[in-house]
């Protein structure tokens, strides 16, 4: 009876193992952003004037509403929007980038470009994005 049970359990695992191998490059086994490069809403707000908020969402979403004082910078119009950001940036300030939700990648991509292309060190992706900011605002 025990052998049958073990055999059945092993059989049940076979398709799962197969899928795990087949989709190994398509499954996010870990967060694409290290924890040290993300920030919670509470911590980012505690930085006050020492933070520059970057809204990485598309134009229409930014126009609808955004974090007060946030600067728009997205990859649709990167070259147009980079100028206003560079004019505001200062080395001692922390840059907080957000997009709509935890699962959106826009903030991650903008943060990566700021680190790689502008070589800015203190760039953080807001955990939970705009959705989380709205929750905490209430």
């Amino acid at each position: 009876m025990l052998k049958q049970t073990v055999a059945l359990i092993l059989l049940a695992f076979l398709p799962a193992i197969g899928e795990a191998i087949y989709y190994r490059h398509k499954v996010s086994w870990q967060s694409p952003v290290p924890a040290s490069e993300t920030v919670t809403v509470d911590l980012a707000r505690s930085w006050g004037d020492n933070a520059i908020w970057i809204d990485a969402r598309p134009d229409n979403e930014f126009e609808r509403d955004h974090v007060p004082g946030a600067i728009q910078l997205n990859e649709d119009r990167w070259n147009d929007l980079l100028g206003p950001f560079l004019a505001t940036w200062s080395p001692e300030k922390k840059v907080v980038v957000y997009c709509s939700t935890q699962s959106c990648n826009l903030a991650i991509e903008v943060a990566q470009r700021l680190r790689n292309e502008a070589q800015i060190k203190y760039v953080f992706v807001l955990q939970g994005g705009w959705e989380e900011w709205l929750k905490k605002k209430r």
């Binding site: 059989l11 398509k26 649709d76 560079l86 940036w89 200062s90 990648n105 502008a118």
Partner: protein, 237 residues
Amino acid sequence: MENAGLSCTIALVKTTIIAFTLSILLCGAAWAGLTWEQTQIELHPAAVDKEVVGHFKYKNTGDKPVRIKSVRTSCGCTAAQSQKEAIAPGDTGEVTATFKIGDRTGTQVKGVTVETDDRVHSTIALVLKTVIAQPLEIQPVLVYWQTGEEPKAKSINVKAAKDFPVNGINITPVNQNFETKITKVGNGEFKIDIQPRDTTRPIAAVFTLQADASPKKFTVGARVANLVPSKATAVQQ
């Protein structure tokens, strides 16, 4: 007696394995729906392209019609739609995914999720991979000095993509606080030296970089900044 029990167990396990395998095969055969030519497409747009379109072709290889319930994308920069809503057995069609390049660079992987009423493969994940060559690779796009630092020139390196022939670049506007100098260092490669006239006070400038015979503009910045934040200090542009 023990041998008989063991034989019985082996027979039972064999039967279970065969039944399990058959159930999977039969189940798949009975409900086989859309067969996709490819579920991942890689595209390499030219430097001047504004968008790319991926065509994910399918065929209904099952014996029942399949209805596409929804087509969703992982990013607002990608729009996808199915050519047909209902696909009869033997019929073919495609899902087109249009990716807006905008000012994106590098490898962009965008997902398209297709939901159907097929009971075996109700959700299909399609992947549109776009490898975007940046017409001009600029590194870094920002140079800065701390107040009091020696006002030495700092360099920005510019390299043109292979399919984007560039003989010269220019940087505008002329700024009274920073001096700029462009040097050609190779085929399609340039060095821009930016030097502040003084670093005793915070100053900032944003420049537009443009390759000859191209309307595409790029932004670079230069700044002299205080290390310690000071609300009272105004920045001159």
